[in-house]
Symmetry: C2
Subunit: 321 residues, 2 copies
């Protein structure tokens, strides 16, 4: 949950006056997103909007990539927050000293208890997202792919064994293996890169919306799918649920068929996807000040996921083929 | 801001099925209230509701007093959250193991920058609230009035000087004076007891709603007014704004005239009102664990307010008479 920045009455009124919208009838900070401050706005006509203030972890120079992508995807039928244009055609303004944008409100609920049906829904939604983003003209490198992991680890390595004995050596060995074997030549394009259940809305078993595109970038499609599988197919005790994985992967493949090379690469990509979240969570665990508004997540959850993928024989373990 | 308890899909569906309402279309944790978890619900017909889960600081045995009061006040024209009845006529259910209630959604915005016009609005709103509550049949003692302060202080006294040198002796002397001179015989009834700007919604300069009745109790009306004056009439640097106080007190008096005894007692009541928040904030300051979701507020702000009221000659300093 996150509201890092308060907004005064005058600042809000000045911000909203740039849009061709009715007056604001209600304004509430909401517990959505961990990187930015988010507010729900109701206007006098009963419509709802989300106001996002971009806090310091988002690079303002990258906002046109993210906002343009949301408009691009929305125009191609992907239900995602649509950045609202001001009367002057702008989607980015300044509010309380921060970049800020107003978005359409998406109906739907994030699932708390994941079912196989949810996994089918989100697998197909990711494939549609990949197809819809294929002709997006901008590009953004993925700073959190294989080339970024070692520099990231270097900031935590000296403290890793204090989190869990032997962790530093285990990460080091896995990194070496991942760096040596990371696939090239697989199909890629725009990926979401953070499609956790918090970022997907459902109405019943159908996906009604996808949010939080602030890790989106250009990378391998199958890497995005590996992130997705890790986020959706492990049970609370970190047992892998092969039924959920089969639903997720086959629903994806029904919309965008996976090549034999992509399927063969999935175990390594899934290990890498686990490494990415292990490393960022480890960094946050060691660097979140006491009293912060957002509690850091346990990095060792992703160590367990990484070990699972390291230990399997091949993609057959995911229920494929 | 506060969402302490997560609610699963199944739990939410079971909870909502007790009401004669359309299906849930959206469900978001909101940053409102510090004692409880609050969620905004949109139903398929576009209506909005607030769902409150009562966390451990609220005594479940007292919920009927609070919920009954809101229904009582709403029936008398005070715009406050109306507890929605289930098909069986209940206003209190259980959700995620906690008492929970569903409320009507109030339009309006809490003011961030307080103007004299806001003070007029909230002064009149408090007087209307006092009049509307006069025939509420239930009663609840105020555990945070003069009799409760010394036991509360006893839990922090040994650490008070670590917060500010000399603080323990200063509080002790003020407590003795307040206990000796606390007024009796002034008019009383149901008071809100926590009417801070966060708990009042405006549309323009008019009050559109009052929320958060979980400190409501039976006590002196003028004590509630003293809490209000402290919360609304000090500038960010803790200078007292006599113009705001005059607006607030005269707007109150225009709806419910203040007696000469109430006016004469105001400086002592305002000192006591400052003591009440100084003591609860001091306790929270010393007892909030690192990493808590809610940051404790600075107790010394209320020490400055207490000193202001201790130093004045009489209620004339508030712009009265």
């Amino acid at each position: 949950m996150a509201v890092y920045t308060d907004v005064t009455d005058d600042e809000l009124a000045a911000f909203m006056s740039a849009y061709a919208l009715p007056d604001v009838a209600a304004f509430k900070g909401i517990a959505e997103g961990v990187e930015n401050s988010n507010f729900l706005i109701h206007t006098e006509d009963g419509a709802a909007y989300i106001l996002t203030l971009y806090e310091k972890r988002v690079n303002p120079a990258e906002l046109p990539y993210f906002l343009g992508l949301m408009r691009h995807l929305a125009a191609r039928g992907v239900t995602c927050p649509l950045p609202i244009e001001t009367r002057d055609g702008q989607v980015l303004q300044t509010l309380s000293g921060r970049p800020a944008a107003l978005f359409s409100f998406l109906k739907g609920l994030s699932p708390r208890r994941i079912t196989a049906a949810h996994c089918s829904g989100v697998g197909a939604a990711m494939a549609r997202l990949h197809l819809a983003g294929a002709d997006y003209p901008r590009s953004r490198a993925n700073a959190l792919s294989v080339g970024g992991w070692r520099p990231l680890f270097a900031q935590s390595a000296h403290l890793a064994d204090a989190v869990s004995p032997g962790l530093a050596a285990e990460i080091d060995a896995d990194l070496a293996d991942l760096e040596a074997r990371w696939p090239t030549g697989l199909p890629g394009g725009v990926i979401h890169a953070d499609l956790f259940p918090d970022n997907v809305f459902f109405r019943g078993e159908a996906v009604s919306g996808v949010i939080d595109f602030y890790f989106a970038c250009n990378d391998l499609y199958a890497y995005d799918l590996a992130i997705l599988m890790n986020a959706w197919c492990f049970e609370p005790g970190f047992d892998f649920n092969v039924t959920k994985a089969r639903h997720l992967l086959s629903a994806y493949g029904a919309v965008r068929p996976l090549s034999a090379e992509e399927i063969a690469a999935l175990p390594l990509l899934a290990r890498g996807a686990a490494m990415r979240f292990l490393l960022t969570r480890l960094y946050d665990w060691l660097n979140t000040p006491a009293g912060a508004l957002v509690r850091p997540k346990d990095p060792l959850e992703y160590l367990r996921i990484l070990r699972f993928h390291r230990g399997i024989e091949g993609a057959g373990a995911y229920g494929l083929g």
